[in-house]
């Protein structure tokens, strides 16, 4: 049963970095093209391969719209998205096909409640036929053990805590050997103590796999702690307001939070985020 981590975590053995997303001039209008709600307004940015890119913005600003467009759940109204130089969606085909190269970890989790944890984890490779069931289960057991999830393989998701569920879901995503992980505020509903454990667990997985991560949050501290790059979005319509390359070296752990550089970065960005939060709040007041 000796399987090295390169085998257990797909992608590790590859030296070639992959999962570069380029969003070009993306526009999303909900409702009719004229007079609808402009959710995403000529958005252009990159998610570099093999890095963690965190998008920060007020709730409802349209960042999830972008994530859904990358995942292929929703269409764009205009613009294009590329994955490793290949067109995912663009003029002529504004909705991408969902695929195992881009796996979403959802805000409130989307493990299938009627499947045991290990059946959830093996779902992707068995569906795609990339592994035999026997191979998939063996690999799933290894990956779960590596992620500290030994002993809950045959439990149902409803029987474990929400923090552990999120970890199972990330392992399920990794089993598909994705080029990029799309995380949509995955730790939003967790308490701050659980959250800190989850952050380190995510970093741990990232360091081992170097899978490209696209992470959405409204929590600036979380963004700076995790990200190589933090993109602060304007409130609706959503557009990059400030792009920050976080120069705190990886690997990081929680001691980073108390460093001077971390505080400086927080100070530098807090105002920008706060401004957008006020705008979002006032817009919400006006709608009411």
């Amino acid at each position: 049963m000796a399987v090295d981590q390169g085998e257990a975590f797909p992608g590790t053995s590859r030296t070639l970095r992959r999962g570069h997303i380029r969003i070009e001039d993306a526009v999303k209008i909900y409702g009719p093209q004229n007079g609808g709600i402009l959710a995403v307004d000529h958005c252009t940015f990159d998610v570099p391969a093999g890095e963690i890119t965190v998008v920060v913005g007020p709730s409802g600003c349209g960042k999830t719209t972008l994530l859904n467009a990358i995942a292929g759940f929703h269409s764009l109204s205009a613009g294009a998205i590329y994955l490793d130089e290949e067109v995912l969606c663009g003029p002529g085909r504004l909705k991408a096909e969902p695929g195992p190269d881009r796996i979403v970890v959802f805000q409130n989790g989307a493990l299938f409640p009627w499947k045991t944890n290990i059946d959830n984890v093996t779902f992707g490779p068995i569906m795609q036929g990339t592994m035999t069931p026997a191979h998939a289960y063996e690999k799933a057991r290894h990956m779960m053990a590596d992620a500290g999830l030994r002993g809950i393989e045959n439990n149902y998701p409803g029987e474990i805590s929400s923090g552990v569920r999120r970890r199972v879901e990330i392992v399920r995503a990794l089993m598909n050997d994705p080029k990029i992980l799309l995380l949509d505020e995955p730790y939003r509903a967790l308490d701050s103590l659980t959250k800190s454990v989850m952050h380190e667990a995510l970093l741990d997985i990232f360091y081992r796999t170097r899978v490209t991560v696209f992470f959405i949050t409204h929590d600036l501290e979380e963004a700076i702690f995790l990200g190589h790059r933090v993109i602060i979005m304007t409130t609706r319509p959503c557009r990059p307001k400030k792009v920050l390359d976080i120069d705190i070296p990886h690997p990081r752990d929680y001691s980073v939070l108390t460093t001077k550089r971390f505080r400086e970065l927080m100070d530098e960005t807090a105002m920008a985020v706060h401004e957008e939060a006020i705008k979002a709040f006032e817009a919400g007041e006006m709608e009411r």
Partner: protein, 282 residues
Amino acid sequence: MVWIKATALSAATFITGEEFWRGCVAVVCFLLFWQIGSRSVDWLGFAVPAVSQIPPPTAVLHQLYVLIQEPSFWYSGYLSSVRVFEGFAAAMVIGIPLGLAMAVSRIFYGIAFPVFEVLRPIPPLAWVPASIIFWPTQELSIAFVTFLGAFFTIVINVIGGAQAIDIRYFQAARSMGSSNWDIFRRIILPGTLPSIVVGATVGVGITWAVVVAAEMISGGGSAGSMGGAAGGGLGFFIWNSYVGGSYTQIVAGMITIGIAGYISSALLRKVGDWLTPWLAEP
């Protein structure tokens, strides 16, 4: 459908310890009240309204004891059970695919749902005369009315359950390479299963209610030719007891139906628990 789910779930939770004894005390108090009430003219010197007209539980119990030794009584129960089973099975076999089809296909939903919604509020018993006219045998018309009792509840639960499946499950499954068939088999079917169980549990209760009433209305005709109370099922048994003036038999028949309904629901819940292990209380 929320209240239906709520009651079915609370009934499914296992009763333990204190709750069990509280239930026992309640049943004993109820029986005491009944016993004293029905004997109130002799024991208290005045008549407790309504209750004094009913035979006391001791008499009913004695009657039940006598009845369970009579093959004709068992035959009545057997006839009703067969009708319940036939109607219920037909409702499941037709209702589940129909509900799933309506949940899956927008076009089919648009065609079938309006018709379904017009027919649904019609009480099953209102179908009795029509059903006697258009079904060739008495037996078929009773089974049909029984079928209707469970059918609408099952279909509406299946539609509701399938439509309530979280869209994220579909998105996740799609991302991980599921075909339409995979999504139906691995997401829609298990996702709807809890609602199917609820619909079936509630539906079987309605089935018992309906079969008895249908037997009272139409069962007598064929029963006459088959000889006495044994011909028409428990519903006809009660009706016949009423016509014959045996009040203890009426109440004994009622209690029998209550027990039969309870056993049916309990069995279905057991099957349901087995089918949906992920819903078990940890």
